[in-house]
């Protein structure tokens, strides 16, 4: 296996006049779980399709498992597992026939593992794919992708349509595989799930990567200071530079601050807080903040 499972340089895709993906340079180290998040139409799926070799890049280059994605032989995808929420299975096949197709297609197909996964997901080989629910099809996609013993796992909205119990099962599987050295690239809108499993994250907006780092570093972009003041929130803190927003829940204030929170913490301490704590923001907060900075904001819709 190559040292770097995914490496792109200036990767771009243009459809007519529309630039779907522009100048993406990214490196995903082995064994990491890298999240791809972004607004709707940000180019996440196009980016993944380019990495899979389904869509041809118009600019730049990409190496996946050490092979150029323009390599048309497709052999390099022997160790690549792909799961998407899109309805793409051979609908008239039974689950058993899907498994047989997998067994004949992938050289490293692990039949025992496949059977174990089918049993775990309670999928019967006699079931016809078109009769499966969306969630069950996603489970079948996971069975296929994991049975080929992948070195790289590319997931596009993998938990869409799954119930909470199966979702947890699936997330555990991803973490388990990562621990065994499988690199995972996961595009999703479910930020709370990503937060639980990802160690790296890339934010996409309008086809560009606007931030990529480890999740720890990304969370340092903004911080939350939880505090309680006996006399209420002092104006000095409200007007301090770097304060993005202040939320109130009873007597507890949440101060969202940009980058370094030390000067705000020092300011708080001067006003003798009853309680003061610096916390991580969740991914959703981080996402909204980053997209807001990019000018992507929506007003609240008020209905009559």
């Amino acid at each position: 296996m190559s040292a770097v499972p995914i490496e792109t340089r200036g990767l771009g895709k243009q459809y007519g006049r529309m630039q779907a993906v522009a100048d993406v340079t990214m490196t995903v180290p082995e064994g990491s779980i890298c999240g791809i998040v972004g607004t709707n139409g940000a180019g996440k799926s196009t980016f993944l399709n380019m990495l899979l070799g389904i869509t041809r890049p118009t600019t730049g280059s990409a190496q996946v498992l050490g092979v150029d994605v323009r390599d048309s032989s497709g052999k390099w995808r022997q160790r690549l597992g792909y799961v998407t929420d899109q309805d793409w299975f051979f609908r008239q096949f039974t689950v058993g026939e899907m498994v047989e197709y997998g067994r004949r297609t992938w050289k490293h197909w692990d039949s025992a593992r496949c059977q174990h996964l089918l049993d775990s997901f309670e999928l019967a080989k006699t079931q016809v794919v078109r009769s499966l629910s969306k969630g069950m099809r996603v489970q079948l996609a996971f069975v296929t992708a994991l049975s080929l013993r992948p070195e790289l796992f590319i997931l596009d909205e993998p938990t869409s349509g799954l119930d909470a119990v199966v979702k947890r099962q699936v997330l555990q599987l991803i973490v388990q595989e990562a621990a065994a050295g499988v690199t995972t690239l996961i595009a999703t809108h479910h930020l709370s799930e990503l937060e639980r499993i990802a160690d790296r994250v890339a934010f996409f907006h309008k086809g560009r990567v606007i931030l990529q780092s480890t999740t720890e570093d990304a969370k340092r972009e903004i911080r939350r200071i939880q505090t309680v003041f006996p006399q209420g929130m002092p104006d000095e803190i409200r007007q301090a530079p770097g304060v993005l927003r202040i939320e109130q829940s009873g007597s507890v204030y949440g101060v969202i601050v940009e980058h370094d929170p030390e000067h705000i913490l020092a300011l708080c301490r001067r006003h003798d807080p009853v309680y003061l704590e610096e916390m991580d923001v969740d991914f959703e907060e981080l996402f909204i903040h980053i997209m807001h900075k990019e000018g992507y904001a929506r007003e609240q819709i008020i209905l009559d």
Binding site: L52, S72, S73, T84, W88, F89, F90, Q92, T105
Partner: protein, 389 residues
Amino acid sequence: MNRSFWTRGLLYKEWRQQRIVLLFIVLAVFFQPILGSIAGEILNMMRQFESVQPYPALPALGEWARAVLLFYGSNQLSFLPVGATLFWGVFMMDSERRGQNLEALLAGPVSRRSVISTKWGLGIATILLLNLPGAIVLSVEALGAPGTHAIWALGWATRWYFVQTGLECLTFSVGLIVGIGVGTYALAIGYAIVAVWLPYLIVSTIAATIQLAPHVYTSSQGMEMSFYNSALPQALQQLQTILNPYTYMGHAYYSVVSLSPDEVPLSFSLVFPVCLVLAIALFWGAFELFGRLSVESWRKMFTMRGFKLALLLLVGATLAWIVGFVAMGRAENAIVMNNYLLHQHPSLIVTKVWTVFVIGFIVFLAVEWLLWMGIRRLVRRRARSTAIA
């Protein structure tokens, strides 16, 4: 074998996906010559019975066979496998598109080209194999049972096999290459039919136009001569016969039954190699097309607008062709039946026919356009009212 060209998984998938369609192809391909030969046999028997001794049940059966099997059977059935292979080629790619399977396929360890080559290989192999029983049946009949009269020569059965197989390989390849680029099943079939019929229609139209043009000249003897002495319309007519799918489809079997080898034109002997070369060329086109373009690009290759234009051209050319032939028939009748008129006023008839043809073509195009616009407006209005509701 090169794994980028074939994969076991793809062959399995194709077999699994196509097996129901294959059943229909078997019905179409396998039974056509058998039914046709049964019809021939029954007719033959009927003739023998009629000449030797009357048999009360058979003439009625023979009449039925004559009506159903020969005229509506063997002749028309020969269209069936050729049409079926065309649709099969279209269906092979269209089923992938409708099932949204292409992403799944291409995300696996297969090349784009192997997807096409597996489909093409499976299709051609099936066609070659499925026509064999028919050829065997015809050969057995050609050899004849002991003491009976063989109704056709062995070479004719071989000719049938190659003509039929070549045509089916070609139409299958046309279907496959059209199926790659076209967005919907109906659109693909439309394009495929255009691809098969358009060359013939264009040549027919040109031939009819030249034949019907008011080309009247004075010969060296001072006689007023018509275009029928010209070599160009004759050459065009030959080309028109060669390009006519019906010449092969309708006569692929019919020639075996009724024509002697001397009567079979040279073009029949060339059908198999020509069709095979064209089929391979089309396959190569499909191979390269699918290999080079991304999924999105080839999906957008054939648009609805392009199809409308092609359809307009096809229908217009068809109608003009019908008008031309009807007019030409009338002209020929007029020439044969009314020699007097021809010799007296040949330019009068030809000019009349020519005018009918040109005006007919323009009127048909205008009517088509109006119909098309009307249907579109109706569809839009209905869509709007549905949206409002």
